[in-house]
Symmetry: C2
Subunit: 406 residues, 2 copies
């Protein structure tokens, strides 16, 4: 089904708001088998809104419109869609009552304008808004579908998932596996599964990249989840045979999520001594609630003083080899272990830049010490990119190394 | 100048990549006085790329295209623009040489395909790519301008700012002041400066919100920066009179940037003891290179064990009042001070959720201890939202309190 997403909002064109709605809707729609071919954004301008809705409805079978459902004169999405299909706008008494009650509840006075939110194109399916005043709606006319949703993500997401989706997806069950890889580029992945990709019919195979690495999505449709999973497992195992060493999940989880789950499962404790990552690794692991059983502490020893005080790093070692050295990484991880005796101890010291480089020690040089069951490995890495990228690459590399031990 | 932004990339339509380019370009273009009227995204499909470029060039004076400059057969942005204006594609020998050298440097073999990156529509201005192989270009024809940029943000941003902008902005100098506020909502800001906003002619005033708070942009055009600054200073001081208590900068810096600058300027040291923020505050302050003179350490004492070991928090206090309590926040900041004696010591303990709440202690309850010059203040706050938002609000609130001391 050819699909377009139209976001209405001047704040998007001003660059004041990041367009997360189009990303969210694209991901969901693709998961359910829609082919998203267009994203478009226009401001609160009636001429351009009218023009865009018409253009995108002509070229597509489905259009998802966000924004323009509010009470002001600028909010005209429903009216424009009604005009396009030659439908009257009809007052829905139930929604009108709800609006009145909602305003009473918050002690606010309702104005005539607000009732615009209770009018819908004739015959539309009305979509409940649990987190705001403006309901959405779906109009199905002449083999086309228009889905109208509010702009704020916290209203849009529950409305789309809880009310809109079931009216637009086909009866067939769609199932996907998300195979995620670390430490290999997209083109190398494509090389290794090229024949599978070009010969795909069912399941379909697609690869894509984002910040955290390459993902291979394998998707099929059928009458039941069970049947679909059977179909998928064959393809997944083919891919695993070729790329197994890089794969950290077939269930779409984040790398760190996998690490956290395994730590909790195996009842292992972990602690960090972070210099150049400056708390980033602790922040990333504590993004997950419930990790406190495994994650004991991170000592962000940014200064030499704190490396000595917290980790018992030798002053002589710091002077002789410098804070960014194999020797200091080793003493850091040793010091951490002596203090906390966690099952896994990790130390990180490096030059994240842009300042701090010397002739022998370039920006991006990082030493990572990992202690696991009396084994200590010190990794020396040269990461590329700016400060943010080097810090992130360091953290991701380290979490992947930890995952390998688990 | 009517302006459109066209992003080419199937990964955007798949929802795999968040479209930060359109946000970034919109912000920049608006700053320089362009009226951005359209955002559009299409995939790597030659028919739709051709159609969109033609449509947007017809409706606008300026089109900024991202993506489609690479070496593959899918990358056709330059060819389509050349076709639209009836221009030949010309080989640039200098760029060809550069490509060969770059490949030699990294020990990779250059294929014929790669030379496609050295062809440009006749008469175009070539834009240097410091962070990738594909140069961009600007085509000016028939009162229209097309700017072609690479897709990856780390290539696009420096190319746009260092090379492209100067070829498209008007001769008049545009100057803006960015007044940033913390602790006040957008509608309250608008209420307080409503008369200024509706009576604006020159300078213009616009307010907008993002994750880190409300920004008021004041902009003017004139023959020199000096003259502009004079015009702006009057408006800025009017706004300061009304909203001064919330303003932390008129220079557009981030809140934490302001804190870091002041710490370095005043030669003050700072350390953190983080529980619920789990390293986030350390991560945020070390996002800035050069902060190591002020930022000494963060002890991410996520477990009770580490609170006792690192900060000498009393076991009895933990049992009696719980880890999330005024008493523990106080002992944490005391323990930190006794260990490091930094000028500013900060402790944070709270419930970031979604788990961990009790009847008396809801998700969002956070205690923040700040010690500055022998004064200790413990803040009790109830933040709203999900885990990420609570952690972020805690960090931002704390950095703002630190700023007030400076």
């Amino acid at each position: 089904m050819k699909t377009a997403i139209l976001n209405i909002g001047t704040e998007l064109l001003m660059g004041m708001t990041l367009n997360t709605n189009s990303e969210y809707l694209s991901k969901k729609l693709n998961e359910y088998g829609f082919s998203v071919l267009y994203h478009s954004v226009v401001g609160d301008n009636s001429e351009r809104i009218t023009e865009e809705i018409a253009r995108l409805l002509e070229k597509n079978d489905l259009i998802v419109i966000t924004g323009g459902l509010g009470p002001t004169q600028d909010d005209i999405s429903k009216e424009v869609v009604a005009d396009y299909f030659n439908l009257k706008m009809i007052l829905n008494e139930e929604i009108k009552e709800k609006l009145i009650k909602r305003f009473e509840k918050y002690g606010r006075k309702i104005t005539e304008n607000n009732f615009r939110q209770a009018y819908f194109p004739k015959g539309s399916i009305i979509l409940n808004n649990e987190y705001g005043t403006a309901p959405g709606c779906i109009v199905k006319e002449k083999d086309k579908i228009a889905v109208l949703l509010p702009g704020p993500p916290r209203e849009l997401i529950p409305m789309f998932e809880n009310y809109a989706l079931k009216h637009i997806v086909s009866k067939k069950k769609i199932t996907s596996k998300f195979i995620k890889l670390f430490g290999i580029g997209e083109s190398s992945v494509e090389d290794k599964i090229y024949d599978l990709v070009i010969n795909q019919t069912d399941p379909t195979i697609a690869t894509y990249v984002n910040k955290s690495g390459v993902t291979i999505r394998v998707t099929t449709q059928g009458s039941s989840e069970e049947e679909n999973l059977k179909k998928l497992s064959h393809t997944v195992s083919l891919i695993k045979k070729r790329l197994g060493e890089y794969i950290f999940t077939t269930e779409g989880e984040e790398l760190i999520e996998v690490v956290v789950k395994k730590l909790l499962e195996k009842n292992l404790t972990i602690s960090f001594a972070e210099s150049c990552t400056g708390g980033l690794m602790a922040k990333m692991i504590t993004d997950f609630s419930g990790v406190s059983k495994s994650f004991i502490t991170s000592l962000v020893t940014y200064s030499n003083d704190s490396k000595i005080k917290e980790l018992n790093v030798d002053k002589y070692t710091l002077n002789e080899y410098g804070a960014v050295s194999e020797e200091v990484a080793l003493e850091m991880v040793d010091g951490l272990y002596n203090k906390y005796r966690t099952d896994i101890c990790v130390s990180v010291t490096g030059i994240a830049g842009p300042t701090g480089a010397t002739e022998e020690k370039p920006v991006g040089l990082v030493y990572i010490g990992i202690r696991f069951k009396n084994n200590i490995i010190i990794h020396k890495k040269n990461f590329r990119g700016d400060r943010e990228r080097i810090r992130r690459s360091t953290a991701m590399f380290t979490f992947n190394e930890i995952r390998k031990f688990l």
